[in-house]
Symmetry: C2
Subunit: 193 residues, 2 copies
DNA sequence: ATTTATTTGGAACATTCGTTCCAATAACTT
DNA sequence: AAGTTATTGGAACGAATGTTCCAAATAAAT
């Protein structure tokens, strides 16, 4: 009987998330979100509650898509070490391709809101833990296969790699070029050899 | 003849900067700045122009104090490599001590505003370049003295160290404890051996 | 085609935002 | 001590903020 929703919720979330990603939470106004999503205020409020609710859903979408992307990399046939190298190469490519220089959504959230919004911070931290876990698994497998150095524990190396990724995200957002980013990755990854 | 300023400009800037540091630029209102600095709106506007001007001056103060702190470390008698280790140890201490979990002012600025404010981004980038230069000098000296590995260039290692510091700042702001931060530093610094 | 339930657009809301203004204040000079 | 001048506090401003509301529109079911 009722009129059905005229928009794809995921598509709207993707558009909203991109605005948040570029401008941050506090830097984004509802006016911009209305313009970016193409739907009206009432539809947004009816569907997502309020600005904060829309932000939370944006993060959830990001997490979901991130998990799917990771799963795709997981199931290729390269060795663990090669996977790590490909992850870094791909990330550097993403950083340089992104004309908006958005950086990492999670890093942006942590630096903007970790003092101000516990709920959102918890969501971001969970995402960080998840990706560290993937790195940890690869390092462990790589060490078992003998292609990754064992002078540091798998946990230590995973933390180091994760930390390097956050650094690259910041360095990249600060305007570093390909040569610099690859230089950093080279040095950081040499710990695995 | 005139009435003189009743406040210490540097002291006011320090208070304002701390608010910006905790809440970000867009997350900070003039009301909060009035409350935090203890002086009135007119005094702020008369002295610093507007909110953005106050922010710019806050960054300049940060840069100045950072430079002084760096100079102090520079002139101790430890070896270059030891200086680097001390820098990391000190930074981890700072991160854990800071009950506000402010993170790094420069990193916060880059992640919040690199898409939105070119002037501020340029100032932050300059600060980043300056600290990379200090690291570069230490690495070069350490390599010359034979205490730092030469399999990577001094520039590469400096970039890697700088990148690790940014990472630590983010990881720390995400709530990591001492064990994790020291683990990361240990792995990252092992590239120097 | 009519009914029904929900979405939708846009006007309107109170609040907060950054900023301006002015009268009152107070310090330095003579 | 008196005059001069910049500082100061607080009221006031328009614009922008996040949010609410309601009449009109619309798609599904009868």
């Amino acid at each position: 009987m009722p009129k059905t929703k005229q928009f794809d919720e995921t598509e709207v979330l993707r558009k909203a998330r991109n605005v948040f990603w570029v401008k941050g939470y506090n830097g984004t106004s509802m006016d911009e979100l209305v313009r970016a999503t193409g739907l009206s205020r009432s539809s947004i409020y009816d569907t997502f509650g309020d600005k904060h609710g829309l932000f939370v859903r944006s993060i959830q979408l990001y997490g979901q898509e991130e998990r799917e992307a990771l799963a795709k990399i997981m199931q290729n046939d390269f060795s663990p070490k090669k996977k790590i190298h490909l992850l870094f190469k791909g990330m550097i490519g993403d950083i340089l391709e992104d004309k908006d220089n958005k950086g990492c959504f999670i890093v942006n959230i942590i630096t903007e809101l970790s003092c101000l919004d516990k709920q959102v911070t918890a969501m971001a931290s969970e995402e960080m833990a998840r990706s560290e876990e993937a790195l940890f698994q690869w390092v462990r497998q790589g060490q078992a296969a003998g292609e990754i150095n064992k002078s540091h524990s798998a946990r230590t190396l995973a933390r180091h790699l994760q930390n390097t990724i956050y650094g690259l995200r910041v360095t990249g957002k600060a305007g570093a070029n390909r040569a610099i980013l690859e230089d950093i990755a080279k040095a950081a990854l040499s710990v695995l050899d």
